[in-house]
Amino acid sequence: MGILSENKRAALLSVLFLLGVCLIWEFSIPAPKAAGELTEYELLTGGGQPKAGVPPPSQVIGKAWEQLSNPFYDAGPNDKGIGIQIGYSIYRVLTGYALAAVIAIPLGFLIGMSSVAYKALNPFIQVLRPISPLAWMPLALFVIQDSEASAIFVIFICSIWPMLINTAFGVAGVREDWVNVARTHELGALKTAFTVILPAAAPTIVTGMRISIGIAWLVIVAAEMLVGGTGIGYYVWNEWNNLDLTSVIFSILMIGIVGMLLDSLFGLLQRAVAYSE
């Protein structure tokens, strides 16, 4: 093992772990019972149907292969490819998220620069922040009267707080020395904001953005389960109603993978703006 680097050893271990879990999973699932052996209860709960039990990983992999080889098919409102469903979810997340960023970052700048603004807005932030984003849903549906826009609103409201708070925190924490450098070079307010404060606070701001995108992705699944129609959240719920557990497990995995990709995108951004003193 001495020849392999630490990363390679870790990767090998990951693969072994995955294989181990899949094997245990595969063999711990009892073979479907013959119809004659089923109790009445099992019959009633659907235990007798081939798809009702927890499917083995081989079946999930088969499903994944089938879905991913044609991700964008569209066969009516209840039968769309996984790619289309994820596309809807990502579109909602990015729209709500972008709206939140456009408001949170400038507002956070203001709050971070002025202690009066901070004190004035802090009570509102403290009350609004702990509200579960889904609690807004009924109000949003009633006021906006549109399920699509309501889902986007819920994403907006849940992604705004980490960005707002981190921006304010980052801006307020910019070292006075750096601001003094801007002052002794007679930089105007806007120039100071863009060339000194923004790069200085960027790591903190991007951390907030990364937290926000994580929350937004968590929330979109739940929101789509409520509003229905399209999206990965709706897809999971729909497959559950169809008792297609293989699809449910597959889409759970997809939710994880897309979430990971979104997060690593912001990880890259974080690395790009990082600096060490």
């Binding site: 002052r183 002794t184 070079h185 007679e186 790069p199 200085a200 703006v273 060490s276 003193e277």
Partner: protein
């Protein structure tokens, strides 16, 4: 004093003492600096040196008094007064070169990019930073290199007055020596007016034309102005052999160890520092006598 290039008139600074009252850091400090002069200010920690410098830089407002440069009262920071802060005030997300071009582009807004880079590179070279090094971020540079970049940034802007706040305070003795030499080199090329804070007596003697001595705070005063009667160019190894060196050094050490009370009492009411000129060399018996400080001239 009113005719000096830079004149500090009756400057006082008071801060709330946290118990509802006020404490006075220094009061009625008055002194002048001539064009092209290199002036060091020496004093114990906490006597208000940084406070004075921040006021000169326009970063802080005095409780009372005025600072005039070229006859005009100073208010707010300006590109005419460059500052090198004690702690590295380089922007850590910019390379060494970009930290300098940042300043140069602000100072000379109508220069094109190539000229800004050329000018900045030249000043970095003057403090011994060349090649690949100038493209590194401050975090990838040693403490000495970072402070060189700060110095290059300040000199490249060619301010009318350059303010340095203990620029070598955080450096080891060897690095400090090298950068002091570089500072002298850049300074003698440019005839820049420099006001520098230090608490290192030898550094002050090596660099300064004149040393201002501050008494301890609170109620600190700028009590003496000691002329450094050692000809330039000076060299760290050779100045110690100059007959005036130990005379001046002893005078400074005595002032600083004597504490403030005595000095305050003896010069009550005077605003400007007493000018002290120590020159044993011009004395024919210098070699027979121990190098006792001799006051040749005293002005109010």
């Amino acid at each position: 004093m009113g005719s000096s290039f830079l004149s500090i008139e009756k400057l006082s600074q008071r801060y709330p003492d946290g118990k509802g009252g006020e404490f006075t850091v220094f009061e009625d400090a008055s002194f002048g600096i001539e064009k092209g002069e290199f002036v060091c200010i020496l004093g114990h920690s906490g006597c208000g040196k940084s406070t004075i410098m921040n006021i000169l830089a326009g970063l802080a407002e005095p409780s009372s008094g005025v600072v005039k440069m070229d006859g005009f009262a100073v208010s707010g920071p300006s590109l005419d007064r460059g500052v090198v802060f004690q702690n590295y005030s380089l922007l850590p997300w910019l390379s060494a070169l970009k930290n300098v071009t940042f300043g140069v582009a602000a100072r000379f807004p109508d220069w094109d990019k190539a000229k800004v880079i050329e000018h900045s590179t030249a000043f970095l070279a003057k403090v011994g930073l060349k090649g690949d090094t100038i493209h590194r971020k401050p975090s990838q540079l040693s403490g000495g290199m970072r402070q060189r970049v700060s110095i290059a940034r300040a000199f490249a802007n060619e301010p009318k007055l350059l303010l340095l706040d203990e620029p070598f305070g955080a450096l080891d003795a060897l690095t400090r020596g090298t950068i002091q030499d570089e500072l002298i080199k850049v300074w003698s090329d440019t005839d820049q007016t420099v006001f520098m804070i230090t608490h290192d007596i030898d550094e002050a003697i090596l660099l300064a034309d004149r040393i201002l001595l501050m008494t301890n705070g609170p109620m600190a005063r700028v009590a003496e102005s000691v002329e450094i009667t050692i000809p330039r160019p000076r060299n760290r190894a050779e100045i110690v052999e100059h007959p005036n060196y130990y005379a001046i050094r002893n005078h400074l050490v005595q002032f600083l160890s004597r504490g403030s009370t005595e000095v305050v009492a003896s010069s009550e009411g005077a605003n400007s520092p007493t000018t002290v000129r120590i020159d044993v060399e011009s004395d024919a018996q210098a070699e027979a006598e121990p190098p006792a400080p001799r006051l040749l001239a005293v002005e109010g």
